[in-house]
Symmetry: D2
Subunit: 352 residues, 4 copies
Amino acid sequence: MTTSTAQTAAGYSATPKTMRASVLKRQGDMAVETLEVPQLEPDQVLVQVAAVGVCGSDVHYYEYGRIGDYVVDHPLILGHELSGRIAAVGSAVDAARIGKRVAVEPQRPCRKCKQCKAGRYNLCPDIEFYATPPIDGAFAEYVTIQSDFAYDIPDSVSDEAAALIEPLSVGLWACERADIRPGSRVLIAGAGPIGIIAAQAARAFGASEIYISDIAEDRLAFALEHGATHALNARTDNVEGLDVDAFIDASGAPQAVRSGIKAVGPAGKVVLVGLGADDVELPVSYIQNREIWLSGVFRYTNTWPLAIQLIADGKVDLDVLITGKFTLAESEEALKAGKQPGQLKAVVYPGR
Amino acid sequence: MTTSTAQTAAGYSATPKTMRASVLKRQGDMAVETLEVPQLEPDQVLVQVAAVGVCGSDVHYYEYGRIGDYVVDHPLILGHELSGRIAAVGSAVDAARIGKRVAVEPQRPCRKCKQCKAGRYNLCPDIEFYATPPIDGAFAEYVTIQSDFAYDIPDSVSDEAAALIEPLSVGLWACERADIRPGSRVLIAGAGPIGIIAAQAARAFGASEIYISDIAEDRLAFALEHGATHALNARTDNVEGLDVDAFIDASGAPQAVRSGIKAVGPAGKVVLVGLGADDVELPVSYIQNREIWLSGVFRYTNTWPLAIQLIADGKVDLDVLITGKFTLAESEEALKAGKQPGQLKAVVYPGR
Amino acid sequence: MTTSTAQTAAGYSATPKTMRASVLKRQGDMAVETLEVPQLEPDQVLVQVAAVGVCGSDVHYYEYGRIGDYVVDHPLILGHELSGRIAAVGSAVDAARIGKRVAVEPQRPCRKCKQCKAGRYNLCPDIEFYATPPIDGAFAEYVTIQSDFAYDIPDSVSDEAAALIEPLSVGLWACERADIRPGSRVLIAGAGPIGIIAAQAARAFGASEIYISDIAEDRLAFALEHGATHALNARTDNVEGLDVDAFIDASGAPQAVRSGIKAVGPAGKVVLVGLGADDVELPVSYIQNREIWLSGVFRYTNTWPLAIQLIADGKVDLDVLITGKFTLAESEEALKAGKQPGQLKAVVYPGR
Amino acid sequence: MTTSTAQTAAGYSATPKTMRASVLKRQGDMAVETLEVPQLEPDQVLVQVAAVGVCGSDVHYYEYGRIGDYVVDHPLILGHELSGRIAAVGSAVDAARIGKRVAVEPQRPCRKCKQCKAGRYNLCPDIEFYATPPIDGAFAEYVTIQSDFAYDIPDSVSDEAAALIEPLSVGLWACERADIRPGSRVLIAGAGPIGIIAAQAARAFGASEIYISDIAEDRLAFALEHGATHALNARTDNVEGLDVDAFIDASGAPQAVRSGIKAVGPAGKVVLVGLGADDVELPVSYIQNREIWLSGVFRYTNTWPLAIQLIADGKVDLDVLITGKFTLAESEEALKAGKQPGQLKAVVYPGR
């Protein structure tokens, strides 16, 4: 049986009414359940999920049952880094999209508020974002998304790379806000997935010197192979005085943030990506005396087209980040995988 | 006798070889002394000082003998807010400038470094700034400055207002960096001279709502008459949630900075003008979640022409800020004046 | 009888099913007709039109039956400068809006394309704009518009001023793009309604010198009273060499455009508002040698909130522009009024 | 004998008093002459010229005796694309610079005017530029330049590539002004040296699609090998509708400019590098309706550091452009070389 309001293509397998999903029932408790396939709005597409990357925020919800004010007080489907194939389309969407492979931008801005109309839809106060209570995410066979947030991908882009466009977007947005340009010198703190992706993004933006710092030598070695030009051990190397044009924090560690700021030269930029404490002591007079600009990233806007282009052109390589592959039933294991040494990025395949 | 390398105008009184200056001998010890008139470089003018405003930094050097790494370890002439009349010009300067009334921008950038050539000469690492050890300032009958940093002023601008273009420049530069625009809503913390000047600058930039906060009701009342549209008592009114486009701190108080940041809406700007502790705990996640940009001002660049225009057009009124007038011999008294209730700005007249 | 899909407020007079409208049947042929009140989409409001300004483009459609590729090949309701009162709301709109006085931004972008999502919805290729074939305009008792494009106005803003927010928006957008700032020196060619409004907008943006040029002395005199600081007779005064920061053309005259460009100094801006020939000979080497940026305005984005603020604050005065008032039945007369000497802006009242 | 005011390094060969130079006596008349080595100002260095690229403007002065208002009414040394070695330094320059290989930025801004202090020294009205009457250029054994305009180059950068940093700077500046970014789609008209260099610059700025158009198939083929991703024959391929983000004209051909503008999408950029007629008919309504920004480049500012970095990193390759090498005595031949088929860039070696 097919969902009643959606178009499906002739010859394309009909959309089922139910689906399997991995549900976070409450803190630390996940289970695969059978749920109804979500209903399509007229401007949405139904995506059969191919691959889902595991993000630190998924892990945090699993472990703590909350992030800040967002509390898992009802069952929630995690996962917001995803790719798939369009299985059906809403009544206002061109049926020719059915069957297309897509990367999904997992947010639904209102499109009507001051922020949306100014081109900053990531700051929309009414935005719905996947896997953020009470909005379900992608550890499921099917998800819905507004058609214009499902981007066609070429054959050369793998399902996994397409899923990882989401963290790549964070890196691109950080580089955009950090004003990385040809010849820029940049310091990135933290050689986890976001740090390495930010390094690749910085390279794509033309940075000539990309310093990355971490306490794990294996991560530094990997980062040097896949984006960074210089590696610094955060325990033994002093970054202060590097005089870089930009500092991107992907560590969330207060001490790394403070040191990183002091690595920045006059008129430089600081962009905080990593999430740590709500309040952090910062070297304010250092910032004032050099007129440094400091900000953060909150997700991203309009990054998918560039991300797809960069992957297709071979300017970034996301596949190398994947260190674990899991079926839907193994979702809980996938969430725990990142804690293991040598692990960077786990991917869940909801169809398996 | 005249200085040998300088041109003086026919009929203009010859420049003397010596002058009186009020010298900070060491922390807390000032004295009027007779010194040699400074020698002119080819591209400089000699300015007979008419009026000098007293700045909080002058007071700080007097009271503590240092500001951060800048230590008064040799006798120093204070004062960097000044106007005067050109008494002589260097060999490369048009002699027609002699006799002109001027407002002085009290800094000498190198003009050759990366920052200078990018139009950010305030960030020049080799800049010389008046009244910052070891560079002498303006509590003296004569000073020298590069000719292009002495700006002609019309008759309608008083000596006192011309001197106060320096703090006005701080306010204009803060508004520039805070991206104040027609219709902006802005919060300013601190209703001292800089806060009130920033309010007037914000009004000149078109801000429609200008909130100012302080703990002194008399200062708030004065600010409401001279620039602000709303006054808030920092002890009793909560600024968080105001959702302003920009926050300018002119208080240097950590708690005011933290509250002020939380008054800013998505994509807003924070500009820290006030100097306080080197390190301050800031609400980093608040900044990240709204992609707020935070920075400071370090002096200013290219603000004198606009400042003169605004004064001449009556869009700012600096004369109202002056609450005390002093002769050169009374310089020490002038430095102490600001501590009295109801006092905003003291002016010293080196020629009296 | 009320329209079936719309909410109407208890106690508020029910929306009729039919309305009167002044329809352009074909080039030069207008007639008042009785039409169905337009149906509301869920996100729209129905506005009972209070006042409509007459724009040059309305006149052009009336006289020539086309503007460029837009041809009046079906009956069309003209008018796109309007204010009114919300009579009914779509199913997704808060019923509390019913009865509110509003200024209408007369465009319906798709909200989904690259331009819309980048905050440039005026460049949306699928936009619908009032009174542009085949989209009907506002010479009618009722119109529909998306709720977020109907802006609440305070009591202090007249119906007529609220209608003229549309041309004010053109002026504000021109100043925005021309980077008018405190202290800017600007030349505006053409002292018709748009030129005078642009002068007022420039003043609100802080421009210190606002030159306006025209061949009609009475218009220049009026402009001097209502926004400009200097008037230039385009026949006798040479604007070349004025060295302004920005030139805004509101004349559409090729010779005025060429002269105006040569009035601009290095790194200045040229913004062409006036519509003239498709192709114009421009002084390209002059532009290159000074790195001047030249562009145009195509309507506006996100200008209504600022416009309402400026009117409410008394920083612009639109009521002074109105030189003729007409009933709906007199629409054709209103279209012809602008050709008379001394006439600036005609307003039609569809409810009269 | 050494020049009296300059420092020379111990052990370094003393600077001679005279030098050979190739002088344009008048239109079409060049001769090698013996002239005095130019005197050093305190802030200058004396550069022993290694290599000089021949630019179209050199050829134009040779053929026509003028460019616009600049007339060769006194003997003039041509050449403004140069590298060399520091032979002596002025009294204010660190003597440690003697012996260093440098690329020379051939301009001397005043550093004091509004444009210079705003970071736009290329627009300085008092700038002196090499080989522009009456300022001599580099077809000579020695030249002088302000020390900060002589940039150290690493061993990996050839003399020839270092000389061609000047035209590379034009390309970089064009890309900067055209806002070329990662993923940009750009059209370049003209596959001569500047067009090919602009293509390489665009690639370094991250452009993903770089269309180049020309009428010469051999130039197109070369451009495809060295920077462009797509080649278009200007006679047979229609560029209109390409919908690129930016159009850079390096042809100076009015028809190419007009077509190129119509290749640009909404909010795109047009940067005119090529010099052609003073006045050109442009599609103004096309520009207005899409809010395209159009400007030109006038030389460049602050491009040498990036240029050196890009060459050293292998991101641009200038050596491939060189198709002819000449001694000083062959300068006239070098000027004529560019007219031959298959010739791109001639280099003169003043030391040979």
